[in-house]
Protein backbone atom coordinates (compact mmCIF):
# COMPACT_ATOMS: atom_id res chain seq x y z
CA UNK A 1 0.00 0.00 0.00
CA UNK A 2 2.98 2.30 0.51
CA UNK A 3 3.37 2.55 -3.25
CA UNK A 4 -0.05 4.05 -3.78
CA UNK A 5 -0.04 7.75 -4.47
CA UNK A 6 -2.57 9.58 -2.32
CA UNK A 7 -5.13 11.80 -4.01
CA UNK A 8 -4.02 14.62 -1.69
CA UNK A 9 -0.37 14.35 -2.78
CA UNK A 10 -1.43 14.39 -6.41
CA UNK A 11 -3.80 17.32 -5.87
CA UNK A 12 -1.16 19.31 -3.94
CA UNK A 13 1.28 18.95 -6.82
CA UNK A 14 -1.34 20.20 -9.32
CA UNK A 15 -1.92 23.22 -7.09
CA UNK A 16 1.79 23.87 -6.68
CA UNK A 17 1.95 23.95 -10.50
CA UNK A 18 -0.68 26.74 -10.47
CA UNK A 19 -3.70 24.77 -11.70
CA UNK A 20 -6.62 26.94 -10.61
CA UNK A 21 -9.72 25.74 -12.46
CA UNK A 22 -11.14 22.21 -12.43
CA UNK A 23 -13.87 20.82 -14.59
CA UNK A 24 -14.92 17.31 -15.55
CA UNK A 25 -17.07 14.23 -15.35
CA UNK A 26 -16.46 11.70 -12.56
CA UNK A 27 -14.89 8.26 -12.57
CA UNK A 28 -14.72 6.17 -9.40
CA UNK A 29 -10.92 6.07 -9.71
CA UNK A 30 -10.76 9.83 -9.11
CA UNK A 31 -13.72 10.04 -6.71
CA UNK A 32 -11.50 11.11 -3.84
CA UNK A 33 -9.56 13.60 -5.96
CA UNK A 34 -12.82 15.29 -7.01
CA UNK A 35 -13.93 15.45 -3.36
CA UNK A 36 -10.66 17.13 -2.40
CA UNK A 37 -11.01 19.68 -5.20
CA UNK A 38 -14.57 20.49 -4.15
CA UNK A 39 -13.68 20.75 -0.45
CA UNK A 40 -10.82 23.17 -0.92
CA UNK A 41 -13.16 25.84 -2.23
CA UNK A 42 -11.62 25.83 -5.70
CA UNK A 43 -13.98 26.00 -8.63
CA UNK A 44 -15.00 22.52 -9.76
CA UNK A 45 -17.43 22.53 -12.67
CA UNK A 46 -19.22 19.21 -12.79
CA UNK A 47 -20.00 19.07 -16.49
CA UNK A 48 -22.83 17.21 -18.20
CA UNK A 49 -20.48 15.58 -20.70
CA UNK A 50 -16.74 15.49 -21.38
CA UNK A 51 -16.99 17.52 -24.60
CA UNK A 52 -18.71 20.33 -22.72
CA UNK A 53 -16.08 20.08 -19.95
CA UNK A 54 -13.32 20.64 -22.51
CA UNK A 55 -15.09 23.65 -24.06
CA UNK A 56 -15.78 25.23 -20.65
CA UNK A 57 -12.09 24.75 -19.82
CA UNK A 58 -11.11 26.43 -23.10
CA UNK A 59 -13.32 29.38 -22.09
CA UNK A 60 -11.61 29.48 -18.69
CA UNK A 61 -8.21 29.42 -20.40
CA UNK A 62 -9.20 32.38 -22.62
CA UNK A 63 -10.15 34.20 -19.42
CA UNK A 64 -6.70 33.60 -17.93
CA UNK A 65 -7.09 30.39 -15.90
CA UNK A 66 -4.89 27.28 -15.88
CA UNK A 67 -7.53 24.59 -16.33
CA UNK A 68 -7.50 20.90 -15.51
CA UNK A 69 -10.15 18.60 -17.00
CA UNK A 70 -10.92 15.28 -15.29
CA UNK A 71 -12.56 12.33 -17.03
CA UNK A 72 -12.61 8.57 -17.66
CA UNK A 73 -11.11 7.13 -20.84
CA UNK A 74 -14.56 6.22 -22.22
CA UNK A 75 -15.54 9.87 -21.75
CA UNK A 76 -12.46 10.85 -23.68
CA UNK A 77 -14.29 9.35 -26.66
CA UNK A 78 -17.08 11.89 -26.13
CA UNK A 79 -14.55 14.71 -26.09
CA UNK A 80 -12.40 13.86 -29.12
CA UNK A 81 -13.91 16.32 -31.63
CA UNK A 82 -13.84 19.20 -29.15
CA UNK A 83 -10.22 18.40 -28.31
CA UNK A 84 -9.22 18.33 -31.98
CA UNK A 85 -11.25 21.23 -33.40
CA UNK A 86 -11.26 23.58 -30.41
CA UNK A 87 -8.57 22.79 -27.85
CA UNK A 88 -5.81 21.71 -30.23
CA UNK A 89 -6.84 23.89 -33.21
CA UNK A 90 -6.65 27.14 -31.23
CA UNK A 91 -3.72 25.99 -29.09
CA UNK A 92 -5.48 26.57 -25.79
CA UNK A 93 -3.52 24.09 -23.65
CA UNK A 94 -5.26 22.15 -20.93
CA UNK A 95 -4.03 19.60 -18.41
CA UNK A 96 -6.13 16.46 -18.68
CA UNK A 97 -6.38 13.88 -15.90
CA UNK A 98 -7.78 10.75 -17.54
CA UNK A 99 -8.42 7.43 -15.86
CA UNK A 100 -7.40 4.39 -17.88
CA UNK A 101 -10.03 1.81 -17.14
CA UNK A 102 -9.31 -1.65 -18.53
CA UNK A 103 -5.57 -0.99 -18.83
CA UNK A 104 -4.50 -4.49 -17.76
CA UNK A 105 -7.45 -6.44 -19.17
CA UNK A 106 -8.93 -7.19 -15.74
CA UNK A 107 -11.56 -4.44 -15.36
CA UNK A 108 -15.33 -4.81 -15.81
CA UNK A 109 -16.26 -6.02 -19.28
CA UNK A 110 -17.50 -2.65 -20.56
CA UNK A 111 -14.04 -1.16 -20.00
CA UNK A 112 -11.98 -3.76 -21.87
CA UNK A 113 -12.21 -2.43 -25.43
CA UNK A 114 -11.49 1.09 -24.26
CA UNK A 115 -8.61 -0.29 -22.24
CA UNK A 116 -7.00 -1.50 -25.45
CA UNK A 117 -7.49 1.59 -27.59
CA UNK A 118 -6.84 4.39 -25.11
CA UNK A 119 -3.11 4.94 -25.61
CA UNK A 120 -3.21 4.34 -29.39
CA UNK A 121 -5.98 6.95 -29.61
CA UNK A 122 -3.86 9.50 -27.75
CA UNK A 123 -1.04 8.79 -30.20
CA UNK A 124 -3.31 9.12 -33.24
CA UNK A 125 -4.62 12.54 -32.22
CA UNK A 126 -1.23 13.72 -30.99
CA UNK A 127 -2.03 14.19 -27.33
CA UNK A 128 1.09 13.64 -25.21
CA UNK A 129 0.56 11.66 -22.01
CA UNK A 130 2.34 10.49 -18.89
CA UNK A 131 1.45 7.42 -16.84
CA UNK A 132 1.25 8.51 -13.22
CA UNK A 133 2.63 6.56 -10.27
CA UNK A 134 3.85 7.35 -6.77
CA UNK A 135 7.46 7.31 -8.02
CA UNK A 136 7.09 9.69 -10.95
CA UNK A 137 4.11 11.96 -10.35
CA UNK A 138 6.04 15.10 -9.41
CA UNK A 139 8.43 15.02 -12.33
CA UNK A 140 5.66 14.07 -14.78
CA UNK A 141 3.38 16.88 -13.64
CA UNK A 142 6.31 19.29 -14.03
CA UNK A 143 7.06 17.93 -17.52
CA UNK A 144 3.39 18.21 -18.48
CA UNK A 145 3.14 21.82 -17.28
CA UNK A 146 6.32 22.63 -19.18
CA UNK A 147 4.71 21.43 -22.44
CA UNK A 148 1.57 23.39 -21.61
CA UNK A 149 3.44 26.63 -20.85
CA UNK A 150 6.18 26.50 -23.44
CA UNK A 151 4.79 24.44 -26.32
CA UNK A 152 1.10 25.43 -26.03
CA UNK A 153 0.24 21.71 -26.05
CA UNK A 154 -2.40 19.96 -23.99
CA UNK A 155 -1.12 16.98 -22.02
CA UNK A 156 -2.85 14.04 -20.34
CA UNK A 157 -1.90 12.52 -17.00
CA UNK A 158 -3.07 8.92 -17.02
CA UNK A 159 -4.35 7.36 -13.80
CA UNK A 160 -4.63 3.57 -13.63
CA UNK A 161 -6.84 1.88 -11.05
CA UNK A 162 -4.71 0.95 -8.06
CA UNK A 163 -2.20 3.76 -8.55
CA UNK A 164 -4.18 6.46 -6.72
CA UNK A 165 -6.04 5.99 -3.46
CA UNK A 166 -9.75 6.19 -4.08
CA UNK A 167 -11.58 5.92 -0.78
CA UNK A 168 -11.35 7.89 2.40
Amino acid sequence: MENILTSKEFFDELISQKINFFCGVPCSVIDKLIKIVSETGLTYINATCEDVAVAVAVGAYLAGKNPCVLMQNSGFGNAVDTIITLNQLYKTPILFVITWRGFDGTDEVQHLDWGKITLPLFNVIGLPYFLISKDNYKENIIKAMDKIRHQNKSVALIIRRGYLNEKR
Partner: protein
Protein backbone atom coordinates in the same frame (compact mmCIF):
# COMPACT_ATOMS: atom_id res chain seq x y z
CA UNK B 1 -35.19 39.82 -39.47
CA UNK B 2 -31.97 38.74 -41.08
CA UNK B 3 -29.22 37.11 -39.04
CA UNK B 4 -26.73 39.92 -39.63
CA UNK B 5 -29.31 42.55 -38.54
CA UNK B 6 -29.91 40.67 -35.30
CA UNK B 7 -26.17 40.45 -34.62
CA UNK B 8 -25.62 44.16 -35.42
CA UNK B 9 -28.54 45.26 -33.24
CA UNK B 10 -27.27 43.34 -30.23
CA UNK B 11 -23.73 44.57 -30.86
CA UNK B 12 -25.04 48.15 -30.82
CA UNK B 13 -26.97 47.72 -27.58
CA UNK B 14 -24.14 46.45 -25.32
CA UNK B 15 -21.14 48.33 -23.92
CA UNK B 16 -17.80 48.38 -25.71
CA UNK B 17 -16.08 46.09 -23.19
CA UNK B 18 -18.47 43.21 -23.90
CA UNK B 19 -17.03 40.09 -25.52
CA UNK B 20 -18.69 37.80 -28.04
CA UNK B 21 -18.57 34.10 -28.80
CA UNK B 22 -19.83 33.28 -32.30
CA UNK B 23 -21.03 29.77 -33.12
CA UNK B 24 -19.51 28.09 -36.17
CA UNK B 25 -20.71 28.51 -39.74
CA UNK B 26 -22.78 31.43 -41.00
CA UNK B 27 -23.04 32.99 -37.54
CA UNK B 28 -19.25 33.44 -37.30
CA UNK B 29 -18.96 34.45 -40.95
CA UNK B 30 -21.67 37.12 -40.80
CA UNK B 31 -20.31 38.34 -37.46
CA UNK B 32 -16.91 38.73 -39.09
CA UNK B 33 -18.35 40.48 -42.15
CA UNK B 34 -20.54 42.95 -40.26
CA UNK B 35 -18.84 43.63 -36.93
CA UNK B 36 -15.34 42.21 -36.82
CA UNK B 37 -13.55 43.08 -33.58
CA UNK B 38 -10.82 41.56 -31.45
CA UNK B 39 -13.48 40.99 -28.78
CA UNK B 40 -15.05 38.38 -31.08
CA UNK B 41 -14.16 34.71 -30.67
CA UNK B 42 -15.06 32.89 -33.88
CA UNK B 43 -15.70 29.20 -33.32
CA UNK B 44 -14.67 27.44 -36.54
CA UNK B 45 -15.85 23.92 -35.69
CA UNK B 46 -16.66 22.10 -32.39
CA UNK B 47 -20.36 22.55 -33.14
CA UNK B 48 -22.56 22.86 -30.07
CA UNK B 49 -19.89 24.35 -27.84
CA UNK B 50 -20.30 28.14 -28.27
CA UNK B 51 -22.28 28.45 -25.06
CA UNK B 52 -19.86 26.14 -23.17
CA UNK B 53 -16.98 28.44 -24.14
CA UNK B 54 -19.09 31.45 -23.14
CA UNK B 55 -19.80 29.84 -19.77
CA UNK B 56 -16.08 29.27 -19.15
CA UNK B 57 -15.27 32.90 -19.99
CA UNK B 58 -18.21 34.37 -18.04
CA UNK B 59 -17.43 32.45 -14.84
CA UNK B 60 -13.88 33.80 -14.86
CA UNK B 61 -14.39 37.39 -16.07
CA UNK B 62 -17.10 38.84 -13.87
CA UNK B 63 -16.48 42.40 -15.01
CA UNK B 64 -17.27 41.65 -18.68
CA UNK B 65 -20.59 40.94 -20.30
CA UNK B 66 -20.28 37.78 -22.42
CA UNK B 67 -22.65 37.45 -25.37
CA UNK B 68 -22.97 34.06 -27.05
CA UNK B 69 -24.37 34.08 -30.58
CA UNK B 70 -25.71 30.56 -30.95
CA UNK B 71 -27.86 28.89 -33.58
CA UNK B 72 -30.79 26.51 -33.20
CA UNK B 73 -28.77 23.64 -34.71
CA UNK B 74 -25.87 24.45 -32.42
CA UNK B 75 -27.84 24.57 -29.18
CA UNK B 76 -29.84 21.47 -30.08
CA UNK B 77 -26.58 19.59 -30.49
CA UNK B 78 -25.69 20.33 -26.86
CA UNK B 79 -28.97 21.15 -25.14
CA UNK B 80 -27.15 20.20 -21.93
CA UNK B 81 -25.43 23.60 -22.10
CA UNK B 82 -28.72 25.17 -21.03
CA UNK B 83 -28.60 23.04 -17.88
CA UNK B 84 -24.96 23.96 -17.28
CA UNK B 85 -25.64 27.70 -17.63
CA UNK B 86 -28.82 27.56 -15.55
CA UNK B 87 -26.99 25.66 -12.80
CA UNK B 88 -23.75 27.68 -12.67
CA UNK B 89 -25.72 30.87 -13.29
CA UNK B 90 -23.21 33.40 -14.62
CA UNK B 91 -24.87 36.79 -14.10
CA UNK B 92 -22.87 38.36 -16.92
CA UNK B 93 -23.92 35.95 -19.68
CA UNK B 94 -26.37 36.76 -22.48
CA UNK B 95 -27.20 33.68 -24.54
CA UNK B 96 -28.66 34.63 -27.92
CA UNK B 97 -30.12 31.89 -30.10
CA UNK B 98 -30.61 32.91 -33.73
CA UNK B 99 -33.36 30.55 -34.78
CA UNK B 100 -34.05 29.91 -38.47
CA UNK B 101 -35.12 26.30 -37.89
CA UNK B 102 -32.42 25.08 -40.19
CA UNK B 103 -28.77 24.13 -40.65
CA UNK B 104 -28.16 27.15 -42.89
CA UNK B 105 -24.43 26.59 -43.43
CA UNK B 106 -24.85 23.09 -44.82
CA UNK B 107 -27.75 23.78 -47.19
CA UNK B 108 -30.77 24.60 -45.06
CA UNK B 109 -31.72 21.14 -43.85
CA UNK B 110 -34.31 21.44 -41.08
CA UNK B 111 -33.47 21.19 -37.38
CA UNK B 112 -35.85 20.07 -34.63
CA UNK B 113 -36.54 23.62 -33.45
CA UNK B 114 -39.95 23.88 -35.13
CA UNK B 115 -41.39 21.65 -32.42
CA UNK B 116 -39.04 22.45 -29.54
CA UNK B 117 -39.72 25.56 -27.47
CA UNK B 118 -36.14 26.52 -26.70
CA UNK B 119 -37.19 29.52 -24.60
CA UNK B 120 -39.20 27.26 -22.32
CA UNK B 121 -36.30 24.82 -21.99
CA UNK B 122 -34.04 27.73 -20.98
CA UNK B 123 -36.65 28.93 -18.51
CA UNK B 124 -36.95 25.54 -16.86
CA UNK B 125 -33.15 25.29 -16.69
CA UNK B 126 -33.10 28.42 -14.54
CA UNK B 127 -32.08 31.32 -16.77
CA UNK B 128 -33.10 34.52 -14.99
CA UNK B 129 -34.97 36.15 -17.85
CA UNK B 130 -36.15 34.91 -21.22
CA UNK B 131 -36.94 37.05 -24.23
CA UNK B 132 -38.62 35.92 -27.41
CA UNK B 133 -38.15 38.55 -30.09
CA UNK B 134 -38.88 39.09 -33.77
CA UNK B 135 -38.30 42.78 -34.60
CA UNK B 136 -35.36 45.19 -34.47
CA UNK B 137 -37.08 47.23 -31.79
CA UNK B 138 -37.79 44.19 -29.62
CA UNK B 139 -34.22 42.99 -29.89
CA UNK B 140 -32.81 46.39 -28.84
CA UNK B 141 -35.17 46.65 -25.87
CA UNK B 142 -34.43 43.10 -24.74
CA UNK B 143 -30.65 43.50 -25.04
CA UNK B 144 -30.64 46.74 -23.04
CA UNK B 145 -32.53 44.98 -20.27
CA UNK B 146 -29.85 42.27 -20.26
CA UNK B 147 -26.94 44.63 -19.56
CA UNK B 148 -27.35 44.92 -15.79
CA UNK B 149 -25.48 41.75 -14.75
CA UNK B 150 -28.48 39.98 -13.34
CA UNK B 151 -28.45 37.07 -15.77
CA UNK B 152 -28.05 34.57 -17.19
CA UNK B 153 -30.31 35.85 -19.94
CA UNK B 154 -31.73 34.00 -22.92
CA UNK B 155 -32.81 35.83 -26.07
CA UNK B 156 -34.51 33.72 -28.71
CA UNK B 157 -34.51 35.60 -32.02
CA UNK B 158 -36.61 34.36 -34.90
CA UNK B 159 -34.60 35.06 -38.03
CA UNK B 160 -35.26 34.58 -41.74
CA UNK B 161 -33.89 31.68 -43.72
CA UNK B 162 -32.67 34.27 -46.27
CA UNK B 163 -28.89 34.45 -46.56
CA UNK B 164 -26.89 37.61 -47.13
CA UNK B 165 -24.37 37.71 -49.97
CA UNK B 166 -20.65 38.13 -49.56
CA UNK B 167 -19.84 35.99 -46.53
CA UNK B 168 -16.50 34.27 -46.68
CA UNK B 169 -14.30 32.03 -44.63
CA UNK B 170 -12.79 33.84 -41.61
CA UNK B 171 -9.30 34.93 -42.76
CA UNK B 172 -7.63 34.78 -39.34
CA UNK B 173 -5.76 31.72 -38.15
CA UNK B 174 -7.22 30.03 -35.07
CA UNK B 175 -4.24 31.27 -33.06
CA UNK B 176 -4.86 34.86 -34.19
CA UNK B 177 -8.51 34.58 -33.18
CA UNK B 178 -7.42 33.28 -29.78
CA UNK B 179 -4.64 35.77 -29.23
CA UNK B 180 -6.56 38.92 -30.02
CA UNK B 181 -9.53 37.72 -27.95
CA UNK B 182 -7.27 37.08 -24.95
CA UNK B 183 -5.67 40.52 -25.38
CA UNK B 184 -9.10 42.14 -25.46
CA UNK B 185 -9.78 40.64 -22.02
CA UNK B 186 -6.71 42.20 -20.34
Amino acid sequence: MRRDEAIKNIYKAVDNKSVFIFANGKISREGYLKCDNKRNFYMLASMGKASSIGLGVALNKHDRTVIVFDGDGNILMNLDNLAMIGYFHPKNLIHVVLDNKSYATTGGQKTLSKKIELDKVAKSCGYNRIFNVKTNEEILTATKECCNSNGPYFILVKIDKEQIEGTKIIPYSPEEIKQRFIESLY
